[in-house]
């Protein structure tokens, strides 16, 4: 069970308090109707799924309830950092 630093609670809390939210920084287009099918597919389905550094969203669903972003190594599962939603990509 991972230990995850919640940037809002500013505490390390156990993974089972959190819900994984998929890859981070995939913003919903302001006006989806302007996207062609390929661009829309990219938004909906294409993911980087890297071996190594991964930007991802977590929600402290059984804690403060907030979504936040994290950088985690997908090979070691170790977190490099976590930061609040809305803050620039690290």
């Amino acid at each position: 069970m991972l230990l995850i630093h919640c940037p809002y609670c500013d505490e390390k809390r156990p993974e089972i308090e959190f819900a994984y939210g998929g890859e981070a920084h995939i913003a919903r287009p302001h006006d989806p109707s302007t996207l062609n099918d390929e661009e829309w597919e990219g938004h909906l389905f294409i993911r980087s799924n890297p071996r190594g550094r991964h930007h991802e969203r977590w929600r402290h669903i059984h804690g403060c309830g907030r979504f936040f972003n994290a950088v985690r190594d997908t090979v070691t599962d170790k977190f490099e950092t976590t930061y609040k939603a809305g803050e620039p990509r690290r």
């Binding site: 069970m1 991972l2 993974e15 089972i16 819900a19 994984y20 998929g22 890859e23 099918d37 390929e38 829309w40 597919e41 990219g42 909906l44 389905f45 294409i46 993911r47 980087s48 799924n49 890297p50 071996r51 991964h54 991802e56 985690r72 997908t74 090979v75 070691t76 599962d77």
Partner: protein
């Protein structure tokens, strides 16, 4: 190739088993192949075998970064079934099940395909509706799948608890009698041996580091730890690592890789005659030829390549098993392990051509790849040989994520209302 049979076993025994040859030689890469398969699991080795056997392309290499069958082939719970809902899926998996039957003889390698029957438990009215729908669709697709009452389910699998007072009572079950299990390692080894006998080069401990494309964008070959290997056709069958390989060719894929755990108990005398799956309670189990209870656990929630799962997943899985089969509470977990499963948005595989000429892909099998091994291998070989998908795998293309023609078995199982 020395035939495997009782006579040779006997003869070689008298000679102290000294004269058994290598099952497959450890090949040194040639500069050029007509086709390269990336990934030495059952799917990849099988594709190489069928290329050589059925489609007349023998100058083939299988390139594996580790050891054969070291990925999900050797890490799964070996469940085989084809009672899927949609025509596309049913045809795909049934193609595989038909090939499983007789695979031992075809490869001259006992893959121990055991038609023990796969029983899926219904725990609520919604499950019942969903399974009945499967059964009706399967019947009209010529796929065997039948409804069992709780009593019939109990008779088929005596350790099953059908206590109506259970938290998740068993309301019935869907049974596919042709479903079952096989010995996972032997599938990889059997294909490797048979493919090698047909001239396929099997290259282990050789990671692919890049995919080379020509000016036209078409495939020219692969860069590896042992240098460049040229080939006009490259088939990628790399399971959890598919995204990484595809990015080498400049392709972004609709895939995410998750940790999946499984575990076995200590071996006991035969007690569990079939495979039982419960999607509602999240547990599936069978008993191996060796006597171990083989149990599949759930995936962890986050993307990972660590092959390292969490304890709470094991806790939930084992608790679920003990609810459905309470006589096993005193059994002990002997071994647990993790694999990396590549999952697509509709949880169905991607099997066919890619936007890159000469590059073919077989990925996205999620937790269900083993059962499809011979079918996926054959269809990948067909697609590579003909440069066009077989009608069976045509629907499992990449375009569906653009045009919306998804094949979403999980969604069809739907949510409790």
């Amino acid at each position: 190739m020395t035939r495997f049979n009782a006579f040779n076993l006997f003869a070689k025994a008298l000679g102290g088993h000294k004269s058994w040859p290598e099952q497959w030689p450890d090949a040194r890469p040639k500069p050029f192949y007509d086709a390269i398969i990336v990934g030495g699991g059952g799917h990849g080795l099988g594709a190489a075998y069928y290329l050589a056997k059925k489609y007349g392309i023998r100058n083939v290499a299988v390139i594996e970064k580790g050891w054969l069958g070291g990925g999900n082939t050797g890490r799964n719970t070996t469940i085989i079934r084809s009672n899927y809902l949609y025509d596309e899926s049913a045809h795909l998996y049934d193609h595989a099940v038909k090939l499983w039957d007789g695979l031992s003889q075809e490869l001259n390698y006992n893959t121990m395909y055991s038609k023990r029957g796969v029983m899926m438990l219904a725990h609520n009215v919604h499950d019942v509706q969903s399974f009945k729908r499967h059964i009706h669709a399967n019947r009209l697709n010529g796929v065997d799948n039948e409804w069992l009452t709780p009593e019939e389910a109990k008779a088929y699998c005596p350790p099953l608890s059908i206590d109506p007072g259970a938290r998740y009572p068993v309301l019935g079950a869907a049974l596919q009698r042709r479903g079952g299990t096989a010995r996972h390692d032997t599938v990889a080894w059997g294909y490797a041996r048979a493919a090698a006998a047909l001239g396929v080069d099997i290259i282990q401990n050789c990671a692919v580091t890049g995919i080379r494309r020509g000016p036209s964008g078409a495939i020219e070959g692969v860069e590896t730890e042992r240098g460049f290997i040229a080939a006009p056709k490259v088939g990628v069958s790399a399971a959890g690592n598919s995204s990484v390989i595809m990015q080498m060719a400049g392709l972004q894929f609709p895939l995410e890789s998750y940790p999946l755990q499984a575990l076995v108990s200590e071996p006991i005398k035969p007690v569990f005659p079939c495979v039982v799956m419960s999607n509602t309670v999240h547990a599936y189990m069978s008993q191996s030829d060796k006597g171990e209870l083989v149990i599949g656990a759930g995936t962890d929630q986050y993307v990972s390549y660590s092959q390292r799962g969490a304890l709470h997943i094991i806790e939930h899985t084992v608790a679920a098993i003990c609810e459905i089969f309470p006589i096993f509470r005193r059994m002990r977990m002997l071994r647990s392990w993790g694999g990396v499963v590549d999952v697509t948005p509709d949880r169905s595989p991607i099997l066919g051509k890619t936007p890159v000429p000469g590059l073919y892909v077989n990925c996205g099998w999620g937790t269900g790849g083993f059962k499809a091994t011979p079918g996926a291998a054959d269809l990948l070989a067909y697609t590579i040989a003909r440069d066009e998908p077989h009608p069976i795998n045509a629907p499992f293309n990449l375009d569906r994520f653009r045009n919306g023609r998804l094949i979403d078995e999980a969604a069809a199982a739907a949510v409790a209302h």
